[in-house]
């Protein structure tokens, strides 16, 4: 039974906007050209709420809320950017940079990386926390793709795309906390996976250079994901 969505009006950053009651703050903001930074969110995949980049202030709510998973309500007053929120976002980004080995100059996604773009856009000039520099493996066993765990931000997009859109569920996350890692099947090499269809969706939803195509130059490694919303719609209509 689908609930009938109603039109609700709310204020985002002082601007009066409207949206449907089943839409999130993020969706309504996007429709109205209001920028909210995101990383784990991707249109066409389920909402995850993990990266915390899209946190916003809602008047009357005691805590900051993620815009991607919070539905709009009539009369809501949202602030998408304040000094406080901005500083939190910078710190979260900085934490992400310390977690693995994000060396842009040596990355094939240099220039097409969402992490890098966010850092530039938000003005992250320095990282105050010490780098952890873990030793992470690179899996180049697949004939078309490479998984470089040094660049992974654990946003879970590849896992969701593989499960929700492709339906293979070849990828998942193992372990927990700081030691979590994306795996293929039973932590096997990607090249020997019997469940992977080599569709490449995971590669194209990956925000960074963690999943890339083999043989592409830095200039060429642009990700294409225009198929996602379309596929989602088609899947829903089956």
């Amino acid at each position: 039974m689908k609930k009938v969505s109603q039109i609700q009006t709310l204020i985002i950053d002082g601007k009066e906007v409207g949206g449907k009651s089943d839409e999130s703050i993020l969706q309504v903001a996007k429709e109205n050209d209001i920028f909210i930074p995101t990383l784990c969110y991707l249109e066409g995949l389920s909402d995850y709420g993990g990266c915390r980049m899209c946190i916003v202030e809602v008047k009357g709510m005691p805590r900051l809320v993620p815009a991607c998973t919070t539905l709009i309500r009539e009369g809501m007053e949202v602030t998408t950017n304040s000094e406080k929120i901005h500083n939190y976002r910078l710190s979260i980004l900085a934490l992400l940079f310390t977690e693995r080995n994000h060396i842009c100059s040596a990355c094939v996604s240099n220039g097409h990386c969402e992490l890098q773009t966010l850092a530039l856009k938000l003005g992250l000039t320095h990282v105050e926390f010490p780098y952890i520099f873990p030793k992470m493996p690179v899996d180049a066993t697949h004939d078309r793709f490479i998984a470089d765990h040094n660049r992974c931000v654990l946003c879970g997009r590849c896992v969701r795309a593989c499960h929700e859109v492709e339906g293979a569920h070849t990828k998942d996350i193992m372990g927990r906390g700081i030691t979590s890692r994306v795996i293929t099947d039973l932590k096997e090499s990607w090249g020997s996976s019997k469940t992977c269809t080599s569709c490449g969706k995971c590669v194209h939803v990956c925000p960074t250079g963690a999943l890339t195509e083999k043989g592409k130059s830095v200039a060429e490694m642009e990700k294409r994901r225009q198929f996602l919303p379309y596929l989602k719609l088609m899947r829903e209509r089956r």
Partner: protein, 551 residues
């Protein structure tokens, strides 16, 4: 099963009990069992048989007697005079003289004084049957009035009536948050859906807490009954108990209790000849603290990784397999039968204005009487630690009491007169939590304690959200630096900044509250932090300082 049959069971059981003049009750909860109480029980039984006194004296296993540090505990009850002697640290060698002393004077050197505040100053609701009934026998639970509240509810009360009683009682969630139970039940009752679920959260993950384990081991039927009442009130016919795999005894007793309840028909289909059905299944945890969080727990029951998801939607509306789900903690459910039996007014008369009833606390650490206690809400920490808890072992000095586990904080001697209720503890930067209280003396270094909790949270973080996953690792790194004598004042500022970040931006309760032990120790023991960074000294002598200072 009908009311007469229930009464018949109680009558038979009580008559059976009345045959015996004496009952030797040996604690068979996990604590005393690990000190050999099962062998002790066997030995008592043999001794009774050997002497041929089995027609007026019997020995049986009972639930936790509370004073775990002095186990194995044995309570000798005399029915005609209704008197009781509790023996502590009983060994196989003492069996003989304890049986000898049945008809004479108690064995003085083994007996706990009745005047001991540990026993005198408690008020037991949840623990009322502890030390009295055999947890593996449903008949004994029925004999003390068990399952009568369920009967009353099913035959005489409407679901709305039941919820009204719970609302009026003022009961709040005993798992930590203190959310009003009645309100939660109301939301689930009102939620639309043909299938609803009841979940009992027995994933007692706070290190230093063992209230729920004891309740499940000592009086499992009480929890089953509370769940069934909740099921009737909100319209659910299926219940799950999510229990830690680290509690094998609790699991065994629960399994047994569920089977017995099903056999007698107090669980299952058409309970007490009403249309109400209620089944309870066990689900085992597998060592993940984060699964105490409602949405992570649900994910775990569904067979997945215990990752929390953003709320709303709350489980009350969208829970297990997408259905409205009521999740309460063990102790919360254990209060329900008593509230139905004695009325909401009675319950609301106990405790403080905003925190009603009693609270079970697990006392541990550097305190004389470690064990399980139950006191009215609002009892001062001083009363709990120094009177009931018997104070600190001789020769050392009280430093702090830690409440709320990894989500809580430390409370110093200046604040010992604070009443233990939800609001007062929160005001001090700690939380009530599930009821673990760890007492520390001057042999504990508070920076080291903070590091301990941060390490705990770092390894327990599910890794889904960035602030908790990476922030905890950074905080652990900083605290390791400070406790090895390599820290500087900037590290302390950075700890403050990370605490604020993690608290404000994490996805779930684990992350949000993770900085509490750090913030709290930095507030109350700033000088210890400064000694570590400035003078490279660990005042308690715990940390291994690499550079300068003494150990």
């Amino acid at each position: 099963m009908n009311f007469e049959e229930l009464h018949e069971i109680a009558k038979i059981e009580n008559e059976k009990r009345a045959q015996f003049e004496y009952s030797i009750n040996v604690c068979v909860a996990a604590g005393c069992m690990s000190c050999g109480s099962l062998e002790l029980l066997t030995s008592f039984k043999k001794e009774i048989e050997r002497r041929g006194i089995e027609n007026w004296c019997k020995a049986k296993g009972v639930g936790c007697l509370g004073l775990c540090s002095a186990g194995p505990l044995v309570s000798v009850q005399r029915y005609d005079q209704k008197s009781e002697v509790i023996y502590k640290s009983v060994t196989l060698d003492n069996v003989h003289e304890i049986v000898d002393a049945l008809t004479g004077e108690p064995v003085g050197r083994l007996a706990c004084s009745k005047e001991m505040s540990f026993f005198k100053n408690q008020q037991k609701i949840v623990l009322e049957n502890f030390g009295n009934i055999d947890p593996e026998k449903i008949e004994e639970y029925i004999a003390v009035g068990g399952y009568e509240p369920l009967y009353t509810v099913l035959r005489e009360m409407s679901p709305a009536n039941v919820i009204e009683q719970i609302v009026k009682s003022g009961l709040r969630g005993r798992g930590g948050g203190g959310y009003p139970t009645g309100l939660k039940w109301t939301t689930v009752m009102k939620a639309s859906g043909n299938q609803k679920y009841i979940i009992c959260n027995a994933d007692e993950g706070d290190p230093g807490a063992f209230m729920d384990r004891s309740v499940l081991e000592s009086d499992p039927h009480r929890v089953l009954e509370g769940m069934a009442i909740a099921g009737y009130a909100v319209g659910a016919d299926k219940g799950f108990i999510y229990v830690r795999a680290e509690y094998p005894l609790a699991i065994r007793r629960l399994k047994k209790a569920i089977t017995q309840a099903e056999q007698l028909g107090v669980l299952g289909r058409g309970i007490f000849n009403t249309p109400f059905n209620f089944d309870i299944k066990l689900r085992l945890g597998a060592g993940a603290f984060v699964c105490g969080e409602e949405t992570a727990l649900i994910s775990s029951i569904e067979g997945s990784r215990g990752n929390p998801r953003p709320r709303p939607p709350y489980p009350a509306e969208y829970g297990l397999w997408g259905s409205p789900t009521l999740i309460n903690n063990v102790e919360t459910f254990a209060n329900i039968p008593a509230i139905i039996r004695n009325g909401s007014a009675w319950f609301a008369s106990i405790g403080t204005e905003k925190s009603k009833g009693t609270k079970v606390f697990a006392l541990a650490g550097r305190i004389n009487n470690t064990g399980l206690i139950e006191v009215p809400m609002g009892t001062t920490l001083r009363e709990i630690v120094f009177n009931i808890g018997g104070g600190i072992p001789e020769g050392s000095k009280f430093k702090a009491v830690q409440t709320g586990g990894p989500s809580g904080g430390c409370i110093t001697s200046d604040y010992l007169d604070t009443p233990a209720d939800y609001e007062s503890l929160t005001k001090l930067g700690s939380i009530m939590g599930s009821g673990g209280m760890i007492v520390m003396d001057d042999t504990s270094c508070m920076v080291d304690v903070a590091k301990f909790f941060v390490e705990f949270c770092m390894t327990e973080s599910c890794g889904k959200c960035v602030p908790c996953r990476d922030g905890s690792a950074q905080m652990y790194h900083l605290l390791s630096k400070i406790t090895s004598g390599e820290g500087n004042i900037n590290d302390i500022h950075m700890l403050e900044k990370l605490s604020d970040l993690i608290n404000n931006t994490s996805l779930c309760g684990l992350g949000m509250t993770m900085p509490n032990p750090v913030v709290s120790t930095m507030h109350f023991f700033k000088d210890e932090y400064l000694a570590h960074v400035h003078d490279k000294i660990c005042p308690a002598g715990v940390c291994n300082m690499k550079r300068g200072g003494r150990k």
